[in-house]
C-alpha cells in the first residue's frame, strides 16, 4: 500500500464519525430541533461501545451498545425540549456537560485497557479493484453504514411522504400541526435518530479510530459536526463532502506533526477548530442564503393547543 493510499485511508477513518454525527443532527434540525448535545451523545456512545466490547468480547455488541446509549441519551433531550418545552440551546449544553461527566465516571475502570478493534470486511470482487478496492471496499462495517445512512436520509427526506412531513414540521410547525401531522412525535423520532447516529459515531471513535477509552476522546468532534450541518446547508450529501474535508484537515495536521515541520504542534492541533470557524464564516456571511436554507422553525419550541 502506497503512502497516498495510507493517507486517504486515514482521512476516511477520521471523517466517518463526523459524517455520521452530522447526518443524524441534520435530520433533527430538518425537523426543527437544534440539539447542541451531539458531543455528549457521542462521548456516551464511545464509552458504552468500549465497555460493552470489553465485557462481551465482541465489537459488534459494542456498536449496538453505542447506538443504544446515544439514542437513550437523546431521549432525555427530547423529553426536556419537546415535552417540557425547555430552552433547546441550554438543554443541549446540559446534555453535553452531563455526557462528559457520566462518560468519565463510567469509563474510569476501562482507562488504559487494550481495546478490540472492529475488523474490516472485504467486499468480494470489488475489494480487489486496484486503489479503490482497499480504500472503499475493505473497510469496517461502520464506514459502510455511514454511507448507507446518508443515502437513506437523502432518499427519506426528498423521496418519501414521511420525509416531506418531517421537513414541513421543521419549516412551519404550526401549519404542519394544522394539517394533522403529529409535530411532537415527528420531532421525537428525529431526535432519537440523531442520537443513534451520534452514538454510532462515538462507537467508531472507541472501536476503530483509536480502539481504546480516553476521557473526552471526542475532543470537540460533536461541535464540528454541528458546524458541518450548517456548512452542508442541511443537505445530506454535502455533509459527506464537508466531513471528508474536515477529516483531511485533521489528518494533514497529524502528518505535519509527524514530519516535524517547524510549526509548534499546538498550532497544528488547533487547525481543525480554526478551519471550522473559517468555514462557518464563508458559509454564513451571505445572510439571504442562510435564511433560505435554514429550517424556518429551527430551535423554536412548539406547544400544541388543545
Amino acid at each position: 500500500m502506497g503512502i497516498v493510499e495510507a493517507i486517504l485511508l486515514s482521512v476516511i477513518t477520521a471523517a466517518t464519525p463526523l459524517v455520521l454525527a452530522a447526518a443524524g443532527e441534520l435530520v433533527a434540525e430538518r425537523s426543527g430541533v437544534l440539539n447542541l448535545g451531539v458531543e455528549g451523545m457521542m462521548i456516551m456512545g464511545a464509552v458504552c461501545a468500549f465497555a460493552a466490547t470489553q465485557l462481551s468480547g465482541s465489537p459488534y455488541v459494542g456498536v449496538l451498545a453505542g447506538v443504544g446509549a446515544g439514542a437513550l441519551f437523546s431521549l432525555l433531550f427530547g423529553f426536556l425540549t419537546l415535552t417540557l418545552v425547555a430552552n433547546q440551546v441550554a438543554t443541549g449544553l446540559a446534555l453535553t456537560l452531563l455526557g462528559l461527566g457520566v462518560s468519565g465516571m463510567l469509563g474510569e475502570s476501562f482507562l488504559g485497557m487494550q481495546g478490540i478493534k472492529l475488523q474490516p470486511i472485504a467486499v468480494p470482487l470489488l475489494s480487489r479493484v486496484p486503489f479503490i478496492g482497499p480504500l472503499l471496499f475493505r473497510q469496517d462495517a461502520i464506514f459502510y453504514l455511514s454511507i448507507a445512512i446518508v443515502a437513506g436520509i437523502h432518499w427519506f427526506l426528498f423521496r418519501t411522504r414521511s420525509g416531506l412531513k418531517l421537513r414541513a414540521v421543521g419549516d412551519s410547525h404550526g401549519s404542519a400541526h394544522a394539517l394533522g401531522v403529529d409535530v411532537i412525535r415527528t420531532r421525537y423520532l428525529a431526535v432519537l435518530f440523531g442520537g443513534a447516529c451520534a452514538g454510532l459515531a462515538g462507537a467508531q471513535l472507541s472501536l476503530v479510530y483509536t480502539p481504546q477509552w480516553v476521557e473526552n476522546m471526542s475532543a470537540g468532534r460533536g461541535w464540528i459536526a454541528l458546524a458541518l450541518v450548517v456548512f452542508a446547508s442541511w443537505r445530506p450529501w454535502r455533509v459527506v463532502a464537508g466531513g471528508y474535508l474536515f477529516g483531511a484537515v485533521s489528518i494533514s495536521q497529524l502528518h505535519a506533526q509527524a514530519f516535524g515541520i517547524g510549526i509548534p504542534s499546538q498550532f497544528l492541533s488547533s487547525l481543525p477548530y480554526v478551519a471550522t470557524i473559517v468555514v462557518l464564516i464563508l458559509i454564513s456571511h451571505n445572510r439571504r442564503m442562510t435564511l433560505i436554507n435554514t429550517p424556518a422553525s429551527l430551535g423554536k419550541p412548539f406547544v400544541p393547543d388543545r
Binding site: N87, L97, L98, G101, V102, T276, I277, L280
Partner: protein, 364 residues
C-alpha cells in the same frame, strides 16, 4: 399517561422562586440513588459531598476561592443570555484573560511596582474582552453563529496556553516542568481576610454581581438588554440596535471572564500551567441558569456549584468515589433546573391517554 402543558395566564411568581430549590432537591435525590447504585451508603455519601466541606473554616475559604470565578463569569453570561447572545466560550476568554494578565509578571518579572497588580487585572479584562470580540465581530458583521465560534475558540485558547507554558514562557529554572515563573510578591492578589486563603477575586465577584443587578434593574441599558432578548423586533422599534448589543454583551462577559482568569491565576495558582481551570467557564453556564439569570441568584448559585467541586474532592477522600461525580452532579443540576423552569410558564397536567379512555367506555 401523557404530560400536557397548559400555558399560565401569568408567569408564576411562586415557581420563579421555588424552581431552583426544587431542582436542587431533585439533584440530591438522584445523586443519592446514584451513590446507592455505586454501592455506597447514600446518606453518608451525600453528607460528605454537601455538608462536610462546609464544616471547617479552611474549606469555607476554598469554597469562596472556587465560587469567585464562577460568579464573575456567570454574571457576565447572564447579560449575554438575557440579550439572547449565546457566548459559551467563557472558558477560552478566562484562559486568554489569564494569559494577557500574566504578561508583566512572566515577561517583565524583574519589574517591581505597586502598579503591577492593577495593570495585570486591567490586561486580564482586555484579554478576555478581545478574545470575545472575535465571535462578537463574526456574529454582528458576518452573520456567523456565535455558539459554534465561541466554543471552537476554547480549544484554540487551551492549545495556545499549552504552547506558551511549554515553549516561550517556560520557567528557565523550572527543571523543564511545563509552567511559568512563580509570580513575584507585587503580582499576587492579596488575601481578603486574616482567617484564610480567600483572595480579592471573591470581592470582585460580589461587586460585579451587585453592579449588574443595579444595571439590570435601574438603567436604560438593563432595559435594553431585556427588551432585545425577549423580542429583537420590539427592540428595533424602541430604537435599540441588536448589533450594538451583540458587541456590548460579548465584550462585557468576555471582560468578566478575563478578570476571573487573571484573579484565579494571580490569587490562587500564582503561575501559569497547561491547565488553569477545572472547566469554570462551562460550569458558569450552569451557575447562570441556576441563578435564573439574576445576579443575586447567581451569587448563591456560584456557591452551590463551588460546593460540588469541593464535595467531589471530599467524597473521593472519605468514601472513595471518583471525583468525576462532580461533573455528573453539575450536569444533573442543570437538567433539573431547566425542567423545573417549565413550571414557571406552564401548568403541567398528567392526562390519561384518550384512546384508553375510549376503550373503557366501550367496555361498559
Amino acid at each position: 399517561m401523557r404530560i400536557e402543558l397548559e400555558k399560565r395566564p401569568k408567569v408564576s411568581a411562586l415557581y420563579s422562586i421555588l424552581s431552583p430549590f426544587i431542582a436542587f432537591a431533585l439533584t440530591i435525590v438522584f445523586g443519592g440513588i446514584m451513590f446507592a447504585l455505586l454501592g455506597k451508603n447514600p446518606v453518608a455519601a451525600l453528607y460528605s459531598f454537601f455538608v462536610e466541606p462546609l464544616s471547617e473554616v479552611w474549606s469555607l475559604h476554598e469554597l469562596a476561592i472556587k465560587a469567585a470565578p464562577l460568579i464573575l463569569i456567570g454574571v457576565g453570561l447572564s447579560v449575554c443570555f438575557r440579550s439572547n447572545n449565546w457566548n459559551i466560550g467563557a472558558e477560552g476568554q478566562f484562559i486568554m484573560g489569564a494569559i494577557a494578565g500574566s504578561i508583566f509578571p512572566v515577561v517583565f518579572y524583574e519589574w517591581q511596582s505597586p502598579l503591577m497588580l492593577p495593570l495585570m487585572l486591567l490586561l486580564g479584562m482586555v484579554g478576555g474582552a478581545l478574545f470575545a470580540a472575535i465571535p462578537a465581530f463574526l456574529k454582528a458583521h458576518m452573520n456567523t453563529n456565535e455558539i459554534l465560534t465561541s466554543l471552537m475558540l476554547v480549544y484554540v485558547a487551551q492549545l495556545f496556553l499549552d504552547w506558551l507554558v511549554r515553549g516561550p514562557w517556560r520557567n528557565p529554572q523550572g527543571m523543564n516542568f511545563p509552567e511559568t515563573r512563580s509570580f513575584g510578591v507585587d503580582a499576587i492578589l492579596p488575601e481578603m481576610l486574616a482567617s484564610g486563603r480567600t483572595h480579592w477575586g471573591f470581592a470582585f465577584a460580589i461587586l460585579a454581581a451587585l453592579a449588574v443587578w443595579f444595571m439590570m434593574r435601574y438603567t436604560l441599558r438593563g432595559f435594553e438588554i431585556t427588551v432585545l432578548g425577549q423580542s429583537e423586533r420590539a427592540g428595533r422599534f424602541a430604537g435599540f440596535s441588536s448589533r450594538k448589543m451583540i458587541w456590548f454583551s460579548m465584550l462585557f462577559s468576555g471582560a468578566l471572564a478575563g478578570l476571573a482568569g487573571i484573579s484565579e491565576v494571580s490569587g490562587a495558582i500564582q503561575q501559569l500551567r497547561p491547565v488553569i481551570s477545572p472547566g469554570y467557564g462551562f460550569t458558569a453556564i450552569i451557575v447562570a441558569f441556576l441563578g435564573r439569570l439574576n445576579p443575586l441568584g447567581i451569587i448563591a448559585a456560584g456557591l452551590v456549584l463551588a460546593l460540588t467541586y469541593l464535595g467531589g474532592e471530599a467524597a473521593q477522600l472519605s468514601i472513595g468515589v471518583s471525583d468525576k461525580v462532580t461533573r455528573v452532579f453539575q450536569g444533573l443540576l442543570l437538567f433539573f433546573v431547566l425542567s423545573c423552569d417549565t413550571l414557571i410558564h406552564y401548568r403541567i397536567r398528567l392526562v390519561r391517554e384518550r384512546f384508553a379512555a375510549l376503550k373503557t367506555d366501550e367496555a361498559h
